[in-house]
């Protein structure tokens, strides 16, 4: 039916359709980058400690509010406010690991999961108390700038999140490939006991993994298209978790790819299926993935040692 109609409507209609597809691609990719950055945090923590941190989305929310505090409330220049927020978040991630997670070593997994879910609650409540529950808009240098290419519009926020994600991926690649600490992080997640035996301070390394995950989440929070924040934006963490699973939960490139898939499916499903579907598409994708290829796109290549 649809196809036939499109043919009848001729060139103009086809071009309009093309523009719409491009527009959906753009917003899907930029939203997907946000999911991907949060999913990276899930994957980093899972690979290192075999725990899933369900507060990852709420950590993103806190990161956005801390940037909001520096930039909007204290009036710092964007770059400094952003960097300061990342520093605070790194500290927060490491401290969370040290105070909440490390004492749980050896406890059953579900207890740790419950703990991270509880942490999410606490963070939402604290944010509501501290910053209020009405939506706030971050003062971003790209503001609501928009570029037009013919009929296609690209927002400054789209460019920022895509560019930021690319830059972060490149940095992560260099970090894990070439730095002593990055290689030690891999070593500690491939074989924890052997890492201890060669003298890698594994516990401290895990603290740094949490710091890194919190920094990535904060980047997602600041770069998210729209720049509107409230204490409940962390709920997209659940979609990012779906993205991480779609990507294989053990693979960093998989996390980004999973994020993009979720972002795109959300946009296209919302437009071409029915409107309410965009919110559930992440989970439909997740279920489909679990049925077709349960190990995820990038099967975690490693069999974890028991």
């Amino acid at each position: 039916m649809l196809g036939k109609k499109r043919v009848e409507c001729g060139a103009f209609r086809r071009q309009g359709h093309f523009v719409e597809v491009i527009q959906l691609l753009i917003s899907g990719v930029s939203q997907g980058c946000v999911y991907g950055l949060i999913a990276l945090g899930f994957v980093l923590i899972y690979k290192a400690t075999e725990m899933v941190n369900f507060a990852q989305g709420d950590i993103m929310m806190i990161g956005a509010f801390i940037a909001f505090t520096f930039i909007n409330l204290l009036g710092w220049p964007f770059v400094w406010g952003f960097l300061a927020a990342l520093a605070v978040m790194a500290l927060l991630g490491a401290v969370t690991e040290r105070l909440l997670l490390r004492p749980m070593i050896g406890e059953p997994h579900f207890a740790v999961l419950m703990l991270t879910i509880g942490l999410g609650f606490v963070l939402r409540t604290v944010a509501g108390e501290r910053w209020g529950s009405e939506p706030k808009t971050l003062d971003l240098p790209w503001g609501s700038a928009v570029w037009r290419f013919g009929e296609v519009t690209v927002g400054g926020d789209d460019l920022a999140v895509v560019g930021g994600t690319l830059a972060l991926c490149a940095l992560l690649y260099l970090f894990f490939r070439f730095t002593r600490l990055g290689i030690a992080m891999q070593a500690a997640s491939q074989n924890q006991l052997a890492a201890f035996y060669v003298g890698i301070p594994v516990k401290r390394v895990f603290g740094l993994v949490w710091a890194l995950a919190a920094v990535l989440a904060a980047c997602a929070g600041v770069l998210a298209p729209g720049g509107v924040i409230d204490p409940n934006i962390g709920f997209i963490g659940i979609k990012a978790f779906a993205a991480a699973i779609v990507g294989g939960l053990g693979s960093l490139p998989g996390a980004i790819l999973g994020g993009l898939l979720v972002g795109l499916s959300e946009q296209f499903a919302g437009r071409y299926l029915w409107p309410g579907f965009s919110d559930v598409s992440a989970y439909v994708l997740l279920l489909a993935m679990l049925m077709i290829r349960p190990e995820g796109l990038f099967a975690a290549m490693q069999q974890k040692k028991v």
């Binding site: 002593r180 290689i183 301070p201 490693q302």
Partner: protein, 256 residues
Amino acid sequence: MTSSLLALRNIETYYGPIMAIRGVSMTVREGQIVSLLGANGAGKTTVLKTISGAMEPQKGVVEYQGEAIQARDPDWVARRGIGHVPEGREVFPFLTVEENLRMGAYSRRDGEIDADIEQVYGYFPVLKGFGRQPAQVLSGGQQQMLAIGRALMLRPDLMLLDEPSLGLSPRLVHEIAEIIVRLNQERNVTMLLVEQNAKMALDIGDYGYVMENGRIVMEDTCERLRNAPDIQEFYLGMKDEGVRGRRRWKQRKTWR
């Protein structure tokens, strides 16, 4: 003369409610190769884990260079110069062979790491060709060599070797034994060697302990252990010479 580098005093270690080590005391002197023998499940691995800090003993003291270390984390213990080569080729499978060796030197800041990697390749020439490949492509024996080489990168004063000959061909066992002796002599590394291959362990060892059910049931110089009838019967498989019947260690617990 040689002083004690490592001493265990009345160590008791548990897995949950299971008591795996039931009051073990032993001494390793500087420059020695000390062999620790025992049947499967005797507790040898647990003793090594207790020394390197992977497990904390409920009771007793682990003294290394005159300092009690039993409550320390294993990375701290490693940085003090104890290189643990664990049971079963525990390499970092997705790091390259060279990265594995570099990780062995994680705690070092000096400029001689590259030279030491070359030295490890000198001891294990076969590893050199695999330098840029992930460790998982190595054969079992090669992974064992990598694990030993990685522990060497720490420049350890004491090495804990947990069944380095496990699953290796007789020729490789011989090669590993030779390297253990060379490291001991050339680089003055003290060795605590856990082995099922009692012949090898007693041939290269200076002093030996025999464990059973979490206890030390016998200790002596390796030379005397080699000639002890019970050792010959139960560990060296020389049944005919052991004319003293089928006495079991278990019945002799009263020795302690």
